[in-house]
């Protein structure tokens, strides 16, 4: 396959127009799930076909694309999606968050603050925040229409009654501009505060479930909670062992079979930039570029 066999960014222009209309509708009604005629993509459902379609519909030849999975630029699926767009759109790619005009992500929001003009595209498996409380789409759509979110509050309340805390640690539900309850995709709840008041456009694509939704810049996004049980964004109680960051979301890495483990930034670009700036964690060594300079 050569890139010339396909239209720019793979999808034909008619399909992109259809997706752009859905995106515009989503931006006009923040948090509302817009049905769209999702296409079969050349990668499986579940691999980010929704995000890929949204990215394809937004890309222009002047864009610079960054793709992350679990916060990392080098996970296999991030590599694969980045390569797909290099091949079909020939766009510039980057790992640096601040260099990217479009960032497609799975399960994380980058640590570095986003800026105006950037687009963050989320891959979404199950767009419906009420799905595991009510499996029927016909019912949940009605519940959104009527703003009937009692079921969700009961679930959160029961969590507290049973466990003393809300037992949801990722895909933590949010309310958008006081109207729609929205699934922020399976990001850790650590990332939830970054959803709100972001200068970037945030777009959510669910390919298999045929839904697109959006947060325009500077949208108010509130994680659901109770006055006496306020939302807490949590992370592992450690610093990054490579760059020493104390405020970034961490992956736990098992280093031996004796219970040895270390914690490293899940955002590889953030970690790299810190190490290049001279920060060194508990188990880290100076960044390769610094090492070479010495």
């Amino acid at each position: 396959m050569t890139a010339q066999d396909y239209n720019f960014a793979y999808l034909d222009e008619q399909t992109k127009r259809m997706i752009r209309r859905a995106i515009l509708k989503g931006i006009a009604v923040p948090g509302y799930q817009v049905p769209f005629a999702s296409r079969e993509m050349p990668m499986p459902y579940g691999w980010g076909t929704g995000g890929v379609q949204v990215t394809a519909a937004c890309l222009t030849p002047d864009d610079t694309l960054k793709v992350i999975d679990q916060g990392a630029d080098d996970t296999t699926n991030a590599v694969s999606i980045r390569k797909f767009f290099q091949r079909t759109a020939g766009v510039a790619v980057t790992e640096a968050t601040d260099q990217a005009s479009i960032i497609q992500t799975r399960h994380r929001i980058p640590e570095a603050p986003l800026t105006e003009g950037q687009i963050l595209v989320y891959q979404v498996p199950i767009p419906e925040p009420l799905r595991f409380l009510e499996p029927r789409e016909t019912e949940t759509r009605k519940m959104h229409e009527l703003e009937e979110y009692g079921l969700m509050h009961v679930k959160l309340y029961e969590d507290i009654a049973r466990h003393g805390t809300i037992a949801t640690s990722y895909a933590y539900p949010v309310k958008v501009e006081g109207r729609y309850v929205m699934d922020p995709s399976p990001i850790p709840k650590f990332d939830n505060p970054k959803l709100s008041d972001s200068p970037a456009i945030q777009l959510f694509g669910a390919g298999r479930e045929q839904r697109i939704y959006a947060l325009p810049p500077y949208t108010q996004v509130v994680s659901l909670d109770f006055d006496d049980h306020p939302f807490v964004a949590s992370k592992a109680d450690h610093d990054c062992d490579l760059c020493g960051a104390g405020t970034s979301y961490l992956d736990e890495v098992i280093t031996d079979d004796q219970g040895g483990r270390m914690f490293v930034c899940s955002d590889t670009d953030f970690c790299r930039a810190r190490r290049e700036a001279g920060h060194v964690g508990r188990l880290g060594t100076p960044a390769p570029s610094l090492e070479a300079a010495q």
């Binding site: 579940g46 691999w47 679990q70 916060g71 080098d74 490579l242």
Partner: protein
């Protein structure tokens, strides 16, 4: 010292090269050709065409070869190709009454106009392994007999069994409609779905899923008392209206399996006692799928016939339609092998915290 896992790109390229080698298998054995697959694995080709929603035996055979015989993977290849194709137009509705049948059986009437044609079926084969095939023995040519239709006259009309019943008012009449059916591949699925959309989803649905649902109705989960009124397999002409010409032109033939069930029905609050129908239509020779489809179609019609919803899975439109597609299902199922480090990490922290709190509470109580 810890080194983060890198090299995803090289790993992917190497995996693809390895996969290609495995697909080819032992190079001392002759490579399987696409025409061989098309001709000799025709039922697999049919399934891939049906569930891929694309009638192209050559591409289906290629997909099977490329997918190493994994039919769902082959369906996926066909679907991903199909979605890039432009729509040139819509054919006129095909007329299965003018099908050139190679097989046509009715379980409800011993004989009927057009006759019973057993055709190339496994039905009465004894399932004994044929070791001559392993020894690559030649298959003797089948005997031929004058066809159902007199030679040189083209296909005769083979009237539908349900039409005989309909003439006597014994079977529910299907309402004719000229409304263009929705296109499942161009519009998002909307529920509740009208019957054309349901049938579209079923005909491209996973054969195993539709089979099991149909089987469940036979075992009492939404029983519909089905008889095979008629099962027919054969080719029909596809005609396309050419606007510049002002008439329809035959653009080719496709092979289809059509199944119509006659279902016992003692009447409901809204409908008199009469027979009711289930319908199945599938690309290629795909009997199991066509029969399954017609049973599930009938089970899904409980509302229009004024029957009770007994909570059976096969009656539940949303359950059936949202889970019938094997490309969607396998994608979402298999995606859980992708990295979930971040989510899992957040769960780890939650479980550790809950455990610590529970342990502390227990110790305080003691």
């Amino acid at each position: 010292m810890y080194v983060a896992v890198k090299g995803g790109e090289q790993a992917i390229d190497a995996a693809h090269a390895w996969l290609a080698e495995e697909r080819r298998g032992d190079p001392s054995i002759a490579e399987l050709t696409v025409p061989q697959i098309r001709a000799q694995l025709a039922l697999a080709v049919n399934r891939v065409m049906a569930e891929g929603s694309l009638y192209d035996p050559d591409l289906a055979a290629l997909a099977i070869k490329q997918a190493r015989g994994d039919l769902i993977e082959a369906v996926f290849l066909i679907r991903a190709y199909r979605t890039t194709l432009p729509r040139l137009g819509s054919s006129r509705p095909i007329d299965t009454g003018r099908m050139a049948v190679i097989r046509r059986v009715s379980a409800t009437f011993k004989d009927l106009p057009g006759g019973q044609v057993l055709g190339p079926t496994f039905d009465y084969t004894h399932r004994l392994l044929d070791f001559t095939l392993m020894a690559e023995g030649e298959t003797p040519p089948a005997q031929t007999r004058p066809a159902v239709q007199p030679a040189g006259q083209g296909p005769v009309d083979v009237p539908h069994v349900t039409a005989f019943l309909n003439r006597d008012g014994l079977i529910q009449t299907e309402a004719a409609s000229d409304t263009p059916p929705p296109d499942l591949t161009r519009e998002p699925m909307e529920l509740p779905a009208a019957r054309p959309l349901r049938l579209q989803a079923l005909t491209r649905g996973d054969e195993g899923f539709v089979l099991s649902l149909a089987y469940s109705t036979q075992r009492g989960y939404g029983r519909t008392h089905a008889f095979i009124g008629e099962l027919r397999i054969g080719s029909v002409a596809v005609e396309l209206e050419i606007p510049e010409l002002g008439f329809a032109v035959e653009i080719g033939d496709i092979e289809l399996t059509e199944c119509e069930t006659v279902n016992q029905f003692t009447g409901s609050k809204t409908e008199p006692p009469q027979f009711t129908r289930g319908y199945g239509l599938v690309f290629g020779q795909s009997e199991r799928k066509a029969i399954s489809m017609s049973l599930v179609d009938r089970a899904l019609r409980w509302k229009e016939l004024g029957e009770d919803f007994v909570g059976a899975p096969a009656q539940d439109e949303e359950f059936v339609l949202m889970h019938a597609d094997n490309v969607q299902a396998t994608g979402f199922l298999e995606h859980i092998k992708l990295p979930h480090y971040v989510d899992f990490q957040s769960e780890l922290e939650l479980i550790r915290r809950l455990r610590a709190e529970a342990t502390a509470a227990q110790e305080a109580a003691e």
